[in-house]
Amino acid sequence: MKRPIPLTLTVSLLILVVSLLVAETLTVKVQSTSLHNTPKFYAPTVQSLSAGDKVEKISAQGGWIQVRTSGGAVGWVHSSAVEVPKFDLLASNKGLKTQASASEVALAGKGFNKQVEESYRAKHKEVSFAWVDRMLQIKIAAAQVEEFMKKGKLGEFGGGK
């Protein structure tokens, strides 16, 4: 006769599996970013990602994480663009920073948001945001940076290292 698997074991295994799975899911926390085919900002883009998109971690290298999207696309994102896993059971040992960043997604759109800025601007009509918005329009493509680095012999295009 087969002995039933003890409930304790089942529960702990289940928790282990769930926590491992959850720990591998990352959420994009910046407005938009790109999935690159190699761990470099100016590497070709596999696809774009937006705030709140969930990706599955495959591996890590330097500051980069190789991920898989829900659609199955595989590529690299920089670690600063994604949220630390939500249910990291070790987080409590890592201090506030990790715990706090875990609430990033839950707090999306809350607190100091567009509505609060509008309310502030209604009260302070003398403060102009025209140049702030123009600043945001200045966008430097990754290819421009690559060209700038090449011509300036910087990074991997440098003579020495």
Partner: protein, 305 residues
């Protein structure tokens, strides 16, 4: 039968211990009190929210909120100093800045990094949270090559990476703001909550602006930003000598006596120079200057009036 019950109790305890590892002591405490009927569930919730608000720190400010704080701080800086409307120069500064950002500790922030030259002869550089970085015309003019300009921008990127601007925010503002955030499930606030948040927001902007423009950062943050500038310079391939060369120009500067801009908000150049030299000496390999970069720098700033 008894054995099964033990097992159930044990597994419940195991589950509870796992859950508790990720909860605060307050949560545990209120759970116990709520369990014994000593406090109601709503009391328990409000105690937890209050404790979250009291433990408020700058690190709990989300990327998106940092962006909104930064936008308004940037607007306040631009109310003080007009923008230098020179598309070619601003493109050059942004391309150079972005090159440093790619090699920084925090290349991705909510809406990216953006750089702008300010139309003032005062020597100054400012970085608002959320990656809004300003550099005065007076400072650009003082730079002799791309390495010097890169080092100044790297110092500012360092402030943003380490969230130094956000650390200027008084805890009480965050306590007030987080109290509202904690009680509201909605992302659209009612008039009362909005008024409270707007007041907290005004306070936050005042704290950050005062620190950036009037009082200056704590010295330790300036030294940290210098450290990061050397690190980022070396990572990109810029000669970190750019920073020592720049600091050298600040020593014995006659405008220093006026105590305006950079001179008012930064530790003395001599003190910084000393520390930066030590930091450079500790690098495993030190990049050197390249004439091709100096040439393009000269071309880019040629039209500066």
């Amino acid at each position: 039968m008894n054995g099964l019950r033990h097992m159930a109790v044990f597994s419940a305890a195991f589950l509870a211990s796992l859950i508790l590892t990720s909860c605060s002591a307050v949560q545990q405490g209120t759970d116990i009190l709520a369990g014994t009927g000593q406090i109601s569930a709503s009391d328990q919730q409000s105690i937890i929210k209050t404790s979250q608000a009291v433990s408020a720190t700058f690190s709990q400010i989300t990327e998106e909120q940092e962006y909104y704080i930064g936008r308004s701080v940037a607007a306040l800086i631009l109310a003080q100093y007009p923008a230098y409307d020179n598309a070619a120069l601003n493109t050059y500064i942004n391309t150079l800045g972005q090159t440093i950002v790619y090699s920084s500790d925090r290349p991705e922030i909510y809406a990216g990094y953006h750089f702008l030259v300010l139309a003032t002869d005062e020597v100054n550089a400012l970085s608002a949270p959320g990656g809004f970085i300003f550099i005065s015309k007076g400072l650009v003019r003082r730079c002799k090559n791309e390495e010097m300009l890169a080092s100044v921008l790297a110092h500012e990127v360092g402030h943003v990476c380490s969230k130094h601007g956000l650390q200027a925010i008084k805890k009480s503002r965050l306590v007030d703001a987080f109290r509202v955030i904690g009680t509201e499930a909605a992302r659209r606030y009612g008039p009362e909550e909005l008024a409270q948040l707007t007041t907290a927001f005004e306070g936050v902007l005042g704290d950050v602006f005062e620190t950036l423009v009037v009082r200056g950062y704590d010295r330790k943050y300036e030294y940290e930003a210098d450290d990061l500038a050397v690190k980022f310079d070396a990572a990109v391939g810029y000669a970190p000598k750019g920073l020592t060369d720049f600091l050298q120009t600040m020593i014995g500067d006659s405008t220093a006596a006026s105590g305006k801009g950079w001179f008012k908000t930064h530790p003395s150049a001599e003190q910084r120079l000393e520390k930066v030299k030590n930091r450079i000496a500790a690098l495993s390999s030190v990049p050197s200057e390249a004439s091709v970069r100096t040439k393009r720098f000269e071309q880019s700033v040629a039209g500066l009036n």
